[in-house]
Symmetry: C2
Subunit: 193 residues, 2 copies
Amino acid sequence: MDETAQRIIDATMELLKEKGYVATTTKDIAKKAHVNECTIFRKFKSKKDIVVLGIEQNKWRGNVSSEIFNNVTWDLQADLTMYMRSYLERITADFVKLSIGLRAPQINEYTIPYIMKIPEAFLKSLVRYFEAMHEKGKIGKFDYESLAMTIFSATFGFTFLTASFGDQLTKVTQQEYIEKSVALFVNGISIKD
Amino acid sequence: MDETAQRIIDATMELLKEKGYVATTTKDIAKKAHVNECTIFRKFKSKKDIVVLGIEQNKWRGNVSSEIFNNVTWDLQADLTMYMRSYLERITADFVKLSIGLRAPQINEYTIPYIMKIPEAFLKSLVRYFEAMHEKGKIGKFDYESLAMTIFSATFGFTFLTASFGDQLTKVTQQEYIEKSVALFVNGISIKD
DNA sequence: CTAATATGCAAGTATTCACTTGCAGCAAGG
DNA sequence: CCTTGCTGCAAGTGAATACTTGCATATTAG
């Protein structure tokens, strides 16, 4: 991947955030990447090709992989906070917009498997974490897949909603949201008596 | 709104689900609505106009309004189940796809206020419900806006994720998800000791 | 120095798309 | 019967877009 090609990919992904796939023209891309339009087609087979090669790059998936959740302390509250925070600081409103751009019906089929890696990383890591916590005797027996799904849905839902509606829908800040949600989950997971 | 115009709107919204805004051509719409293409422009100013008039109709917002959550029993578990179920049975994968179609940058600005009515209905109703439950002495004092946001995000997140990735991401069914999530929330909200 | 490679530039092609226009038929109401 | 309004039909318009081509120039590697 030479530097010119990378510049073309980066420009394309940036434009995707702003305008979506169909509204991003190769002329726009050329301008933003500071190359001639025909150079694009010397480096890539098609417009679709650029996007597919882009989403294959970890950097264009917000650098979210299982390893970013490795830093656990085996304290439920601290760790759930870390999970939510790690995700939310990477999947910003901009990234949500990008991921919507990548779902355009013309390219959707090729991009979905890569987009899916992001939730997968969160979910798999969290399920493993709960199992380990259970072995350590720190939490009870649950359906950890459902549990992880609830926590991830709540995390994802929040970024998506704030990316869509800004503060029009809710004035709850990200910081507050994490605190209150984690408190709810920790309390929900703990054993009463 | 005569019958022909309504048929054009319905066809447009259906196509939006399948292909998104830009990929839906006026030719497609004409075919699906069984009218001539020029009839579309006799009834509507522009393609954008059709979509905007469509999203203004309650039926194209899944018939979600605050009233659908009125059927409460003042039992926390039953009521949270009702909230999640009422939403999820209306906002199906098809509706999620439609709402993504409506977010195309060309029309986004006009559709967002209408799309937002759906989460608003859920959130406002749920906050009022929590306040009433508190007055009845059934739940403790919380930040109800955060709490409602967490529950709604978890509900919305789940439909969106299953609409996007089918059962590739998780095998958890909607039924299971509701049960397990509600159990978690109820336990989390309840007061210990 | 020479040959290969990368890129710019300018012009062009074929297609698609939103939207328009002029005319004709038809049904309903007065 | 006659007007009015709705719709179809056929043809067209102008703009935009993905992608191509031929040639000139600059940089780099051997």
